[in-house]
Every structure is written in structure tokens, then in C-alpha cells.
Amino acid sequence: MSLAALPQPELEETRAPSADVVGVKRGGWFVRLTILAVVILWLIPAAGVLITSFRAEGDVDATGWWTAFAHPTSWTLENYRAVLDAGGFENALLNSLAVAVPATVMPVAVAAFAAYAFSWMDFRGRHVLFVVVVGLMVVPLQMALIPILRLFVDLDMQGTFLGVWLAHSAFGLSLATYLLRNYIGSLPSSIIESAKIDGADHFTIFWRLVVPLSVPALAAFAIFQFLWVWNDLLVAYVFLGGTRETRVVTIALANLVGGRGEDWHLLTSAAFVTMALPLVVFFSLQRYFVRGLTAGSVKG
């Protein structure tokens, strides 16, 4: 069976380059000014952090960050060095990575298999189970913390990476299954059927056909889950702990905020260190994020 011969589903965006879309009236100065105003409003807080993180300690404390350009201040990288050295941030960054990567891949994989079964396999209880899976989306994860904590202590899994991975996977799983079922279920049934006729088993169809075709949706959810896990404070704090050895970046940052409430020069550079990786992930993959997440739902 050759994959190239199969009809490709519409994964590319169907809309024309936006300049030529029928019916879209181009905006004048009003549109541009409004957009500009909102963007500036949204950027002001982040600009404050960025500027403060490069200012010397004395300056940060003496004058507001918005005066940095007016007055001659000494710009410095010292804050970043201090955070990365003294704050124990290297360890926290490594821990965050060890938590976030598997905690992103695992729910995507588990949800993709489940979504495939819900879409293309026939079994008893298919609809009921799907409703249950989606319905669990509303359980606030805070509700799960204490019982799971007890369970982990009993199983001797408290403070292990495996525990945090499983917890993050489970908390992201409802949404993932729901979104991926939407997408995988909307793939043309003709290609799945013809693969079956050619003798492919379910594992082959899933692995060689469905996964490659679902890359936009998978990538979209993966980014979303990565941002969420990386930025999570609560789950990591409860299941992994806040000691210097085991804490993740958000906890290290929270300690910095709590411990030295007014050390702005350190707080801001620490904040930027934690933001850096999610920003890189987001900017490099945002095309998928926007397109994939809505691809299944918009077509209805």
C-alpha cells in the first residue's frame, strides 16, 4: 500500500492569502490605531520586566523602570548571573525539563490512542465511555491533590518524576482526548477503509496513517500542554516537592518572590529565565497551534 497514492485530507488552510479574501474590507487608520493601542497596552507589563531585569540593583530600587531610558543607568547582565548561580536555577531548569517533556508526550500519546479507538473502532460502551472521559474535564484538579498525595505516599511514588508525569498526563487527558477525537474522527473514512482492505492492522493504520495525518492537531495540543506543565506551580509543588533538589522553575521563582519580596532586579531576571523556553516553543510552533486546534472544530 503506498501512502502517496492516497487522497490527502485538507490539512492545509483553505483560505486564500488574506489580502485577497472576498468580502474583507481593508481597515483604515481607525483599525490600525486600535490594534496598536491594544498591543501597547498588552506589552507594557512585559516591557517593565524586561527592562528591570537588565538594570543594576541600586537603580532598580531608586527609580521606576520607565525612567531607564531618560536617565543614564548602567545596564548589566549581573542579575542573570546571580539568578543562575545563587538561586539554584540550573537544577530547577533541569527538573522542569525532566517534568515537562514526558508530561507532554505521555498524554498526547495516550489520548491519541484513545481518540483513535473512539473514532474508528467498534466496541461496547463506546459512547458512554466517551461522555465520561469528556465530562471529567470539569473536575478541578485541586480536588484530586489530597487523595492522590495519599495514594502516592502509600505506593512510595511521592516525590518521583513518574508520579508528576502521571498526574499531569491525567489532568490534561480529558481535553486532549476531546480535541484529538474531534480531529481524528474527521479524517476521511475512505482512507481508513482502504487501508483495512489492504490488510493493515489497527496498529499499522494508527501509526503509519492516522498519526502522520494528525500532526497539526497533535502538535497543537502538545504545545498547549507543554506551556501548561512548564508554567504549573501547584502539581509540581505537591507531588515533587519544594526542596532545592527537586523543585521546578516556577517553585524556585515563587520562593524568590516570597523570600526576598523586594529584590526586583533578581525577581525580574528570574521571571525572564522561566519565560524564555516557553516563548521559544511558542514562537517556533505557533503556526501549528493556531491551525491545528481549530481544524477539526471549525469544519464541524
Binding site: 507589563p45 471529567l136 473536575v139 489532568f171 481549530t294
Partner: protein, 367 residues
Amino acid sequence: MSTTATTRPGAALLLRAAALVAGVVAVVLGFQWVFDFLRDGEANRIVIVLVAIGVGVCGVFALFWAMDRVVSWLPERGAESVRPYVYIGPALVLLAVFLLYPVFNTVLASLKDGRGQEWVGLDNYEFVFTDESMLRSIRNTAAWIVVVPLVAVTVGLVFATLADRLRRGEALAKSLIFLPMAISFVGAAVTWRLIYSYRPAGFGSNIGLLNGIMIGLGRDPVPWLSERPWNNLLLIVIMIWMQTGFAMVVLSAAIKAIPGEIIEAARIDGANELQVFRRITIPSIRPTIAVVTTYMVINALKVFDIVFVMGNAESNETEVIAERMIRWFFISNHDGRGAAIAVVLFLAVIPVMVWNIRRFREQEAMR
């Protein structure tokens, strides 16, 4: 694929069973060894992290592959009826252990005392609905779940509609609004302290932007975060800042999917821009608006980090339900009360879910 299974059923089955047991034992022992290594404090941290990532990522695929192989060893008819459950099994197990079990557990705990030993009936619920701080948290949460979705969806919708008209820079403008999504709640708290920071006279100069503006206007600086009740709104602004990007991006994609012909036809019939927006854009993307709003309401209901990190919730009267729950569970160590608050939080989501299910049904009936 099971082809040889029929030749000598008895011996073959026995052999397979033995191989299966051996395989399971080997996997368990292997995992044991790996996780012991991961817990070893002496080992090099980078190596530990790399091993952890490798095990976590490969493990999940290996699990599915192995399970699929095991199922394929079964007689053909059995295999095909078992296989679907193998595919959805891990998802169901995870959800049952991590979500379904805690729901029951929390309901039970909410009927017991602080240490989870004596049954106390509905005492904890009485506390939830009589304690002054709790009642405030319920009122504040109500404000959160109204204001956050309303403002975030409205701004997101207007921004997406206008950005659609830009000749250039649409992607950049949208990225910049989405940017705060990539920031943690803790990072956001740091960010916004630089806006709200206040120092009384004699304790150094004010470095918060808002007080900088006040001073620039010749007024006295204000302790923003303890200005009741408006300090709640100042915290809500932080969440709006973070979440509008998500609403905007999803709504923008829905707007792009509206067929241009419909809009063109409306214009030819003499509709102005506002009419097109109200009569065509909004009705066309109503399902997406509903999904985004639901997501925002559930998120606002669960908000805890912002309030927690900005500090002094009680004296500033900025408590929210989820923040109270964390306090009682982890700081005051009263499990019964924490659990009762959690149950109330869960019950609060039910109307949203009922509305959603009704909407799904209507949608399916229309297809």
C-alpha cells in the same frame, strides 16, 4: 497477527503464557532499577534528567506497542474484541485513578473532621457557607467568573475582527497579544508587581508604574493592592491580560472560516460594518464563542495562583474559592474544610457543563 495459534493450541498457549509472564517480570524489574536510579541523590543531575526524559517518552510508546503485541497473540476473535479496550485502557485507568477516585474520596473527606477521623455530618459545609472569609471568597469568585470571560472574549473578538483587516502585521499583532499565555502565573505576578508596587513615604521611592503616574500627576501614591474592593479588579486584570490571547487566537481562526461570499452578499444588500459584525460574524462563530467562554469560566473558577502569589488575601479581602481550599488543605491542615470547599467548587462547574451538553445536543440535532 495470529497465524500459528491454531496448529497446536495447547503447547503454543502455554509457551506464550510463559513468555508473557517472563516479559512482565523483566519489565517490572527494569522499571524498578531505573526508578531507583532516578531517586539516587548522588547521581549526576543531568544524567538523571536525560534518563528520565528517555524513559518517560519511550516508555509510553513501548507500553502501547507491547500491549498491542500481547493482544495479537490471542486467538483472532478474542483479539479484535479486546483491542479497543487496550487502546482506551490507559486513558481510562489514568482518569479513573486521578480524577474519578479523588471525586469520591473528597466527597467522603468533606463529611469528616480536620484530621479525617470522625464523621461530622455537614459541619464543614456549614463552615463554607457561614465563615466570613469563605463568603467573601464566593462573592469574589463570582466576580472573577463574570468579568474574566466577558472582557477576555469581548476584547479577543474585537481584536481578532480588526486584526483581520490589517494589510500587514496581523500575525505579529496576534502573537504579541498571545505572548502572556506563555508566562506562568508566578511570572505574571512578578510582572504585575512592577505595575502595582507601593511604598509608603519614607520607605524608598515608588517604582510601580501606577504610582509613578500618580506622582507624575502630582498626587499621593496609593497602596493599590489593599484598596478594597477594587483590588479584586486589579487581580482580575492580570488574568485577563494572560487569557485574552487564547480567546483571540481561537476566535480569529473561526472568523477566517466564515465564507467570504456571505459577507460580500450582506454588503451588496447595504449592510454596514457593524451590521455585518452583529448579524453575520457573531452568529457564524457562536459555537466557538461558547467553547471559549466555557474554557474561560472553568479557568476563572479554578484560579488560585494569582491571588496566592500576590499575597495577603485575607487582609486585602481578595480571597477566591480555590485559594481558600489550598489554604485549608495545606496551610491550616484542616482536610474536612478543604474538601468541602473543593466539592462546592466542583458543584459550581455543573451548571456550565449542563449548558454545554444541551448545546452539544442541539448542535447534533441540527446536523
